[in-house]
């Protein structure tokens, strides 16, 4: 489990996120949703330590991440995987080297064992046999899937996904959502996913935190979200024409 306790982050004196407290449960997909600029990415970066919080704390299974030493954080990071918006694959390395990178860092095993793990991860994301391809040769969906393979290479306890479906067609986006959900269940990970894609929300939103103007505005599940009478949340959800029609019909 990951917990944010009264987290505040400022940039140049302005609160970008303010007093956010939220719990992200293990074994389910936790979604942070909100409009562009609402503070979702900043919150995620605070959770993983890419931004230092100005106030509050972040807990990883009762360990206060905010006050950890450099070495303690490094140890914890072995248990983290992150999928970035653009994939963030290393351009100079091929697919196999990208997925093997965290293994080279932390595993002392021979190359053969690492290769087995790489192939296992690539099979999990349905990309077996693309080991020698360079990131530039891959499609957007494939880049995301290789990035997921890299993120799960060390069998992490915590998986972070920053807008994993942005820029993808609906079919590929659904595939990525399903993949993240399946991996979360299979490896019992605590997965936190940033999204403003309503399809993702309704597909895999088992624990949803809605951020509005830097504040936690609403929490609930995918079953509760369409029934909510929260005005700001409804404004966000019902910009999607399909959902609007569905609601009217109902």
């Amino acid at each position: 489990m990951i917990e944010a306790r009264v987290v505040t982050k400022q940039f140049e004196g302005t609160d970008v996120i303010k007093d956010i407290s939220a719990k992200f449960e293990r074994g389910i997909t936790n979604l942070i949703i909100g409009q562009s600029g609402s503070g979702k990415t900043v919150l995620m970066k605070c959770l993983v330590g890419l931004h230092e919080v100005d106030e509050g704390s972040v807990y990883f299974e009762d360990n206060n991440f905010t006050y950890m030493t450099r070495d303690q954080r490094k140890d914890l990071r072995k248990q983290m995987g992150m999928l970035f918006q653009g994939g963030a694959l290393f351009d100079s390395l091929n697919v196999e080297q990208n997925v093997r990178f965290p293994l080279d860092l932390y595993w002392e095993s021979p190359y053969k064992e690492k290769l087995e793990r790489v192939n296992f991860c690539l099979e999990k994301v349905d990309l077996a046999g693309v080991n020698d391809k360079m990131p530039g040769e891959l499609s957007g969906g494939m880049v995301k899937r290789v990035a997921i393979a890299r993120a799960i290479a060390l069998n992490p306890k915590f998986l972070f996904c920053d807008e994993p479906t942005s820029g993808l067609d609906p079919k590929t986006a659904k595939r990525i959502d399903k993949l993240i959900y399946d991996l979360t269940c299979e490896f019992n990970m605590t997965t936190i996913m940033n999204s403003h894609d309503m399809n993702s929300v309704l597909e895999i939103g088992y624990n949803i935190a809605f951020i509005y103007r830097g504040k936690l505005w609403w929490t609930g599940t995918k079953d509760e979200i369409l029934e909510s009478d929260n005005k700001e949340l409804n404004d966000f959800i019902y910009t999607n024409e399909m959902i609007k029609r569905f609601k009217k019909k109902k």
């Binding site: 995987g81 963030a88 290393f90 351009d91």
Partner: protein
Amino acid sequence: MRIIRYLGQYLQFMFEVLRKPDKGKMFRKQVFIEMDHIGLNSFGIVFIISIFMGAVLAIQTAAQTDNPLYPGYLIGFAVRESTILEFSPTIVSLILAGKVGSRIASEVGTMRVTEQIDALEIMGVNPANYLVGPKIIAASIVNPALIIVSIFLSLVGGWGSTYIADVVAPNEFLSGLQMWFVPYEIFYALIKTVVFAIIITSVSGFQGYIIKGGALDVGRASTKAVVNSSILIILFNLLLTNLLLV
């Protein structure tokens, strides 16, 4: 005030760069890769510049000393001294600041804007150390070797020009090259080169590392990297000359 903040950021960055590598084996591998990128890939440009630099230097020196009272061997001597003391270490380093510096800044900058540096950080790697440390070490090893080659090629170029331009008898030029040689001057040239190599790689890496924004900022950082490292090379050239030669 901005300069002080910039300097502070640079020192903080260098503190991170100089930390113990997270994984020695991967760091060493990166050093060899960078030696190839920085050194071998720059050989062509160093070759061309050095040959022509030596040739032009010989012709210009001859043109300035067109007096029967000046012995011909002085041209060879002057070309050797100028090449070892100034032209090869400084001019070639300035050229490398343009070629290598812009490459480093754009490489690191692109990694920053595409979140590859964040990805390294999430994996528990110190990105400054992993990305820039090997470049500094590689350039500090390879650049002095390039400068030695450059000195040799420049002298060959000067000697070649005595045949083409007929400015002085080749054997007189050759005897001038061998006269009053002080080995310390080579040491001085190499010390300068190592300092310039550290400036080129660290300043360019820093410029790329601190980028905020997108592709446009990568271009800006690349330009800044070349300008700042060139200015620092010139400043340190003066400082080191005063310290080591006077």
